[in-house]
Amino acid sequence: MFVSLNWLKQYVNIDNSTPEELAERITRSGIEVEGIERIAPESTNVVVGYVESCEQHPNADKLNLCQINVGTETYQIICGAPNIAQGQKIAAALPGARLPGGMKIKKAKLRGVESHGMVCSLQELGIDEKFVPKEFAEGIFVFPEDAEVGTPVAELLNLDDVILELGLTPNRADAMSMLGVAYEVAAILNKEVNLPEEAYPTSNSKAADFVQVKVEDNELNPYYGAYVIENVKIAPSPLWMRNYLMAAGIRPINNVVDITNYVLLVYGQPLHAFDYDKVATKEIVVRTANEGETMQTLDDQERTLTGDELVITNGKEPIALAGVMGGANSEVTNQTTTVLLEAAYFDSRAIRRSSKHHNLRSEASSRYEKGIDPNRVKKAGAYAARLLAEYAGGAVAEGVVEFDELDRQEKKVELDTASVNARLGTTISDDEIASILTRLQFGFEQDNSQFAVSIPTRRGDISLFEDMLEEIARIYGYDNIPYTLPEGEAFAGKLTTKQYLKRQLKQYLQGAGLMETITYSLTSKARTEMLVSPEVKEQSVHAVALKMPMSEEHSHLRISLLPELVDTLSYNVARKQDNLGYFEFGRIFLSEEEQTTEQPTETARLAGAITGTWTEQPWQQEKKPVDFYVVKGIVEGIFAQLDLEPVFQQAQVDGYHPGRTATVSHNGRAVGVVGQLHPTVQKAYDLKETYVFDLDVAYLIDQYKEEPSFRTVPRHPSVTRDIALVVDEAAHAGDIQRTIKEAGGELVQQVQIFDVYQGEHMEAGKKSIAYTVLYQDPTRTLTDEEVEASYNSIMEAVKAAHGAELRS
């Protein structure tokens, strides 16, 4: 909402505040002033001039040589505007003048002829091109004949005005009008509001002879009033009105349309003027549209109605989309002589539906949508009739043809001083509350500290105690509320174990050299089918699709972190960053339904991706690229952080290198994957060798068992035995390791691989793997016999399970 301060002054006295002070006070009390604009702060020495003569420039076809009388003197000015003519009153910028934008006017020679100034367009005087009346858009502005020669144009064109731009929250629909703003400012400054005079003279005609009004739905349209104004002469509206409209961001059109817009801005009440003769049927019928019905709106758009809209008809066909926009078939034009003026109350929901469906927002619809004041409908209609009589030469027929079932009752809110103070933490007195209510111009009855407040209908946002609490607090001033701390019972704030472990795992990965990333949860459909962890895929889950995505790129919720994470690597590699290690701790979204209808399962995953060099020391020519075992080591570390043991199993997984990939499981449950990306995937992402991991971290964190007690340091010595085995080269070291551990019995604390060998001195197709087995019992020293017995059962087991022989 743009508020012209010159206009506002007519309703409330703001003389004692600068615009900046006023803006600050408005902002601090409830409505944010988003901007303060001066229309043309610099236009000086621009005055009304009379064009005494206007001839073609001797040396240029498109220039005119004009003699401009400014009262005291006549200036020769060359002007290129096509619409300049002898006898006009125009804006003459004289030598020494400054125009908005910094232009200085000096004497000049144009094609050999002297020019002592410039004739100005409205744009040149600082008016936004969007709001300049169409007839002056391509040339200079022409003043009405009564403009006095020599008057500074700043005065006549309201160029000294200051415009406040209000950012209105949805509850403050009351401030979508000059009067609403006046009430607000009056409350803040503790002033009175001067209301406009609405009474109008009437002719001998009777409105009821011209038209009948029928309303089909009294809920969607509880009030409809029709005024008839005859003998209207279409012309430009008075200059002051055009100035205010332009200041408010509305382009002036003609006196009738301008008056309806002007009244809309004063009262916040939308009005509509029909050409009575074009309505043709002497009848107004308000009804819901028929499905498939068409009409052309004033913006020349052909609209097909859905059946949800409210339409104004002449009994046969729609002549306006109610509360949104008029129809082209009943538009006021230069030929119009009789105007049918509509002042109506439409329900906000109905207007919101039409405006949303047709994607059509107007000054009218934006006010109806948020709710208008039921007590201003008739006042606004009357005021418009008065202005039509005064500025369009109209004769207003007696009476208003009405349908009226509108509820105009004021709501009551009860409050007491103690409750107000208890909720705000203040010590406001009864008198202060009474004074605040008076400043707000809310009616009230007071019984000591009890108040029964009548809420004016212009404040549709207030209906509860806390609404009044806000009114009192904002006028009292939030700065005057003290700072206290809650007095309730004190809690001990603490991370839950899961929250703590999440932080712990992130810290571990950072320590391991990985950088944390956060990527978008919304991804493309194609990416929901890529790099999905096998145990997720097995659940036959579906990615959740948005109903109306903004782009294909962000149309589905991810079911794997990796596609976006790998994309992040790709993005950085493309920017010459070759050595990267990233991880993300984030959610995936799994739906059991192909067409999601229920909330999907949201579960935390922990994924990482590494490419390029892992360790490097350039001057020692040492450069080790990341490999499978680096990433596996990181994953083992994640398990170690949670006191869990992973099991890795060679696996073929879509998108992964077939020989360098393992699934990860814990206690027989698959929990993720670790491996190299398949070379074709690497190529698609423009990456070199890249290793990734992807774990069901939600499950893993759930498995963590808090160790309540301290584990004693063993006091009895441990015994180690080395076992070197010869096995087929396809055998998996980890499988054998597991067999050793299982067969060795309880005394085996640890089995480690210390050597893997293949080549010279080995039979073809065989390899040797050497393990160190650590035996220990924390309570006693072990005997040679029991270690020997365990060793023997290990050898039997590895032979049986893996065909392993002792290396000689």
């Binding site: 949805p170 701390l485 309730g488 950088m515 990333t517």
Partner: protein
């Protein structure tokens, strides 16, 4: 015999002096003190001597042996020390060459801010709650006093999945869920950090995904002055001990009164600059007293309980605190951006 022994001593010591490595020295030791050496030989010939001469020569032979041994040991020490020095010299390195880099990663800037805010509120006795990102229309809107057809409810801003499922547009549904969980008869002190979504085209100041932290305190007799006190303490801890805050009236459907909270600009110390648009203040939070409709819908009796809620955008806080100029930086994860905010 005496002469022979003295000559042997002189000769052996001469040889010891000449030995220039440990092996040569060992050879001297074997040659003179070995079982087949000349001194042993002299001792073996002692039987031919008279009983008077025997002890005298024996003593002399032992003296000679000791003198040679001492010379050998001294020389050995000298040679070993020289050898060690030589080895140490060979082992010398160029200490000005660069060290081996230790690879470290780091947290995402948003995580740093979230954890900092979490720790501040944990310190004030709040707990941390989470909730689903795919929410029902009920929890995202209706339970927060935004019924269907409410003017503040702009469908354009929401990613819908079905008519009743959507991507949460705020973390407030976690508050509504927590209030239900607490059953209407317990005090609540919680914050809920989380990812939220809006139908916005991504540009320097808009992102279709962003992060919020909201907080809720419900108890008997909670006052608006408590909200001011808690937010002042929070702002000073996060932005600096000399910060001030101010409240401006605003509108949120789930709070009434609703306010916007500004903190004094740290760039200009409240004097006015480009960052704060010459107001001296920077908006950091939305807040307010929990609306009675919200309390009632979640099972709390507004006659008995009251509370306040507040919410902030984590990206905005990060942008203000670290001068980040484009919200997209948080999601492109450019390593040159990420590594700026921790020592790598």
């Amino acid at each position: 015999m005496r002469e022979k022994l003295e000559a042997l001593q002189a000769e052996a010591i001469e040889k010891v002096q000449q030995a220039d490595n440990l092996q040569a020295l060992q050879d001297v030791r074997v040659a003179y003190l070995g079982k087949k050496g000349p001194i042993t030989e002299v001792l073996r010939g002692m039987g031919k001597l008279s009983p008077e001469e025997r002890p005298v020569i024996g003593e002399l032979a032992n003296k000679v042996r000791e003198a040679i041994a001492t010379a050998l040991d001294n020389k050995k020490n000298l040679l070993e020390e020289a050898a060690l020095n030589e080895q140490l010299q060979k082992e010398a390195i160029d200490v000005t060459l660069p060290g081996r880099p230790v690879k470290t990663g780091g947290p995402h800037l948003l995580t740093s801010i979230i954890e900092e805010v979490e720790d501040l509120f944990l310190g004030m006795g709040f707990e941390i709650k989470e909730g689903p990102e795919v929410e029902t229309d009920y929890f995202n809107f209706e339970a927060l006093n935004l019924p269907q057809d409410h003017p503040a409810r702009d469908m354009q801003d929401t990613f819908y999945i079905t008519d009743h499922l959507l991507l949460r547009t705020q973390t407030s549904p976690v508050q509504a869920r927590t209030m239900r969980e607490y059953n209407g008869d317990k005090a609540i002190k919680m914050i809920c950090p989380g990812i939220v979504y809006r139908r916005d085209s991504d540009d320097a100041t808009h992102s279709h995904q962003f992060t919020q932290i909201e907080g809720l305190l419900i108890d008997k007799n909670v006052r608006m002055s408590d909200l001011k006190g808690v937010l002042l303490e929070f702002s000073r801890k996060l932005f600096g001990a000399d910060r001030e805050i101010r409240l401006r009236p605003s509108f949120f459907p789930f709070t009434e009164p609703s306010v916007e909270v500004d903190v004094t600009c740290k760039v200009c110390d409240g004097k006015g600059c480009n960052v704060c648009k010459h107001t001296g203040w920077i908006e950091i939070l939305g807040a307010g007293m929990v609306h009675s409709n919200v309390l009632r819908m979640s099972g709390y009796d507004p006659e008995e309980y009251s509370g306040f809620a507040f919410g902030m955008g984590v990206e905005r806080i990060a942008m203000l605190k670290y001068g980040v100029d484009d919200i997209r930086h948080f999601y492109t994860n450019d390593v040159r951006f990420l590594s700026q905010y921790h020592k790598a």
